[in-house]
Point group: C2
Chain length 301, copies 2
């Protein structure tokens, strides 16, 4: 029987193994850990690395919280039960180099006192400059992970990521997407511990896909030189990232609305970001090409 404690323990291990892998490849940065408790119940283990060789600011957070859901969250989730348990690992890495992508991963488990539960999560990539080969490679890794479990997962979760990581007021996607899923649960008929175990195995497989993917990009891009102009564009792209996270991201809102630890929730924000009024890249530039590729529905894999 897979208990919420089993799930939380396994996710803590995942946090640990990812931190080790990132530190090793970075070669300089070390994660600083803060353990925190939530007033309403539970707590977490936040780990943030700043000013590494490759990673400028990266957070790999674990939390396991429980208590009462505020009414507005119950409404948003369309549930009437208020006693909840939630555990997950959340990652955002902002690299120093504008030629390296920002990455985000989240795997989470949610359970209500009435026995209802679901899994959610995903991985998505936000290159400051979209490179078509990198995008294909990235989506192929995600597709491979998904296909090992269910052939319907990748197309479905890829489309979901396109829709979720979208900035309406800019009419652009946050990055090149990836996979996103929520409310994943075993069918009612087959609601056995095996069905739940299978979904959890998938969740962990997604989590285990993160480190090899990002280490690939770290190795590939860490020695590339970049210009002041590229750094400025990175600031602008980081500004868009901030806009998405503060205005639209449901995880951020959930965290702030349930009185989570603000510094842990907002570790997703970059060390700096910029807003340049009415900035329009020159036609044909790398920047303009990137904008062309920040669209929904591109079949990368």
């Amino acid at each position: 029987m897979l208990t919420k404690e089993n799930i939380a323990d396994r996710l803590m291990q995942l946090q640990q193994s990812i931190c080790v892998a990132l530190e090793q490849e970075d070669g300089k940065g070390k994660f600083i850990e803060e353990k925190w408790e939530r007033e309403g119940g539970g707590g977490g283990r936040s780990r943030v690395l700043q000013h590494g060789n490759v990673i400028e600011k990266g957070g790999v957070n674990f939390s396991a919280v429980h208590g009462e859901l505020p009414a507005n969250i119950q409404q948003a989730l369309k549930i009437t039960e208020s006693k909840f348990f939630a555990t997950g690992v959340s990652i955002v890495i902002h690299p120093s180099s504008p030629l390296m992508p920002i990455i985000h991963m989240n795997v989470r488990y949610f359970e209500l006192a009435n026995g209802e539960y679901w899994f959610g999560g995903g991985i998505d990539l936000t290159p400051h400059y979209v490179n078509v080969d990198d995008a294909k490679w990235f989506h192929t890794q995600l597709k491979n992970t998904c296909d090992a479990f269910d052939g319907s997962y990748y197309p479905k979760f890829k489309e979901w990521a396109d829709d979720y990581f979208f900035i309406p007021h800019r009419n652009e996607t946050r990055g090149i997407g990836g996979i996103f899923f929520d409310r994943l649960k075993a069918d009612v008929e087959s609601k056995t511990s095996e069905g739940k175990q299978g979904l959890f195995d998938f969740l962990i497989a997604v989590g285990e896909t993160f480190a090899p993917i990002y280490l690939h990009f770290m190795k590939l891009k860490r020695s590339l030189d970049y210009s002041e102009e590229e750094k400025k564009w990175q600031m602008l792209r980081r500004g868009r990232y901030v806009e998405f996270n503060l205005i639209y991201d449901k995880g951020t809102r959930f965290g702030l609305d349930t009185n989570g630890r603000t510094e842990s929730i907002l570790m997703s924000l970059p060390e700096n970001a910029g807003w340049f009024y009415n900035y329009n890249p020159t036609a044909g530039s790398q920047e303009a090409q990137t904008l062309e590729l920040l669209k929904k529905g591109i079949d990368w894999a």
Copy 2:
């Protein structure tokens, strides 16, 4: 009879006179103007100044829009009428120097097709470092403007600003507040054009208070030297400004939800901002003293 066209015209004049005053005192920066049209009806005249001597990024926007309100905005406003007209001037100035305050002003008029109308607006100040004398001076100016119309305005609108410009997840105010008011309309009994005219005169008086206030700070602070450490703190305070505007500010949300011009709405964001994980100023430092003063309910005037 005071028509919506009269009001919009007068607000455009206000935009113009403020831009002239700011350019003159800055001595280098020039406002760049964009006229834009809104698909649903109306448009605006955006003016942004970047990289002046004193002002790093400042926007002074006029708009007059009309059309159909989206259902979520009708709900938020608790109205059933959907045809609206809205006009206003919005200002945010981010100075280069961390020793100079960020300032925000907004004056607006809102009218529904059923004849209902109201005025709203305010001025608030966000010093990167709170200086007690400056704060007293600032609030006294606002009190003087209010008292010339109604002795109840300043205490009421000052408290409203404290409540509105508050960042719950940081448990701090955005700055030292100022005045904020909304849904200001003539009493139903005295709903004559004179009552409306009186309120409009107050609105314009608030608008006319802006330039003398900010010019005072420009003159006072423009020649002061500052350190790298102070510049870093400015980045952090700007980060908080971004958090407030993107998460909580109703004007920003109204603009984005009604498909306003994104670059005009988000001109309120600074050229750059920073997020430093778990940054805690040293006890007794200028930064720590500022945090002590970012609280509701301080009687400055």
